[in-house]
Amino acid sequence: MGAENGERVEKLAADFNASQNNYRVVPSFKGNYTDTMTGAVAAFRARKQPHIVQVFEVGTATMMAAKGAIYPVEQLMADSDVVFDKSIYLPGVISYYQTPKGNLLSMPFNSSTPVLWYNREAFAKAGIKQPPSTWQEMFNVSEKLVASGMKCGFSFGWQSWVMIENFSTWHDQSIGTQQNGFAGFDTELSFNTPELKRRIQSIADSQSSGHFAYGGREDDSLPLFSSGECGMWMSSSANTAALSSQAKFAYGQSMLPLDTSIATEPQNSIIGGATLWVLQGHSKQSYRGVAEFLTYLSGAEVQAWWHQETGYVPITIAAAELSREQGFYQRNPDYDVAVKQLNLNTPTENSKGLRFGNFVQIRTIINEELESVWAGTKTASSALDDAVSRGNRLLRRFERAN
């Protein structure tokens, strides 16, 4: 991790090193998530792998398939005689990283979920009292924002994660067959539903009246919100640190809007972010240090600090409790939105997460197809159909290679 959150990772490692004398953790920044994962794979092939690598959630299927390279966390803890209790973790977080039998493979570290960020000052100026809770209200509120002089109503970052993956789980719709890939590599994408097509098309159409503005992939659209051009922005809850240094106005978080033509109640959102994978090929002695470091990271105080500083969700129940006891949610009432969304309902087969091979490339495909919808060169219907068929080609190729 880089930038503001990277400094906090440095601090975690330094604090751990200061807390004991036996081991020393050396953090190193290797670029964004994809760069880091590629770097770890290359390092492993050259037999120079690190002990721990931070891999984002969409790399999970690739890491899982690399049985000889990874050291499952649960086994590491047992081999190192470190007490490990899985029940302290939030179920919505660890379910993403378990084998079908329930073994935890990697250690959850930074998990977030998309929320609706909104500009309180712009809302007050436009006379809007409540953040929108449905898509109909999204457009109504955007209308008022634009009428009050804003350039646009809303934008979003990480469009595949927010508008395809989380949109599906939020409305309890499947993203792919075989329980979104959890049940096997022979999964096929299924998100090209009439409901999603209709929603995407309506967003694209709303560009002409200034309701929606596209600001690029990943979090490239952040400046649209932080500079005050757009009044709302859907992206990761973990933008706390970035927004507090960039936005010059009061802002709040709210739950993702519901499409009432699809569901009457929201189901639950899913996480994004990364886990820590332990790689094979080092000494038993050093793995003990790894086990202790991972235990340290899950400690309630460390997690509560991390959660409050970054906006990532606390991964243990104790850390969430501690934050409440410290009065964090009273001072910052919106900061429990992410946890609430994740724990809204017991996850269904459609909403416990996703596990697709080659998903890094599939997300690129989804980016490309959605961009052609925003640019008006394709309809939402043909773009989503193309995204599914191109994605399925990559899923078959992954199945073939593993």
């Binding site: 994809t34 994962m37 590629t38 794979v41 492993f44 092939r45 690739t62 398939a65 690399a66 049985k67 000889g68 390279a69 596209y214 600001g215 690029g216 992939r217 490239d220 400046p223 649209l224 500079s227 051009e229 080659n358 890094v360 490339q361 690129t364 980016n367 490309e368 197809e369 961009e371 052609s372 925003w374 640019a375 060169t377 191109r390 080609r393 990559l394 190729r397 073939r400 290679a401 593993n402």
Partner: protein, 295 residues
């Protein structure tokens, strides 16, 4: 009559070319060979399950119509960059060749961009054209042009062409100025005395005499646009929006290093290698015929 010098020893010429051969073998032949071998394999990211599949990676690629879109996009991009950077450099060199005072200053300033690394060059243009914060975007906005290369594929392509051209102009300029300076002054003065104006002198004397350099630059520029613009594209657009600026080398990178599909990426590299070899052969066989080296 040409005088020829003969060395008796038979080992000396081999010893003299040996370092170059060695460098070529280690840094070109070996990796190229590995890449060709890799293109016949399908394996997972970490290399645990490897299967020899002959041409499956190639058929996978060649049955994908989007791949051919990338091929044509690459040709368009490369020739645009080569044409623009050569013609602008030629224009600038023509002017600099004629000025007397401060020539050194202009030359230095014009060569400067060449020292900028592609990634930095890309970053500069990204800042200036950022759809929300960019200074040039704000200027275009005041003319009623809402520049957004994150959404508009044409604008994205224009931006990477501008950035890649801007960086290459210096290199071309350097060679063209040197070539112009090497033309004997007496030729130009004689033409001037015969009444040929600056444009006529450029067309009939300078231009033909710098053709060998121009041809060399054409080859270099096309290769530059094919490969070295990677850094610029990576920083400016990342191949987007919707593949609008994805050229072949960028696709090989993103499939191999982001997608971790090494076999598919190696197959693309092999095709790219064959393509560039063919292109160079064509340039030498057909374009070079038009060039007269003897004068």
């Amino acid at each position: 009559m040409l005088k020829r010098v003969h060395f008796r020893s038979s080992w000396l010429p081999y010893a003299l070319v040996a370092p170059q051969i060695l460098v070529t073998l280690v840094f070109f032949m070996w990796p190229a060979g590995q890449s060709i071998y890799q293109s016949f394999l399908i394996e997972d990211a970490f290399g645990f399950s490897t299967e020899f599949v002959w041409f499956e990676n190639y058929t996978y690629l060649l049955t994908d119509s989007l791949y051919f879109d990338t091929v044509f996009r690459t040709l368009f991009f490369s020739f645009s960059v080569a044409f623009l950077s050569l013609s602008i450099a030629l224009l600038l060199a023509g002017f600099v060749d004629r000025i007397i005072r401060g020539a050194m200053f202009y030359r230095t300033m014009l060569i400067w961009p060449y020292a900028v690394a592609p990634v930095i060059a890309g970053a500069l243009w990204v800042f200036m054209f950022d759809p929300t914060l960019g200074i040039l975007t704000a200027m275009l906005d005041s003319f009623g042009w809402h520049w957004n290369h994150r959404l508009n594929g044409g604008e994205a392509m224009a931006l990477v062409i501008i950035a890649a051209t801007w960086k290459q102009i210096s290199y071309n300029f350097l060679f063209l100025v040197a070539a112009m300076q090497a033309i004997p002054k007496s030729l130009i003065e004689a033409a001037a005395l015969d009444g040929a104006g600056p444009l006529r002198r450029f067309r009939t004397i300078i231009f033909p005499l710098i053709m060998p350099t121009g041809f060399f630059l054409l080859v270099v520029n096309v290769v530059y646009a094919f490969f070295e613009t990677f850094g610029i594209i990576h920083v400016v657009t990342g191949g987007g929006p919707a593949k609008a600026t994805e050229i072949l080398v960028y696709k090989a990178y993103s499939d191999g290093f982001i997608g971790l599909d090494l076999g598919g990426s190696a197959a693309q590299s092999t095709i790219l290698m064959i393509g560039v070899v063919l292109l160079t052969v064509i340039q030498f066989r057909y374009v070079e015929r038009q060039v007269d080296y003897s004068s």
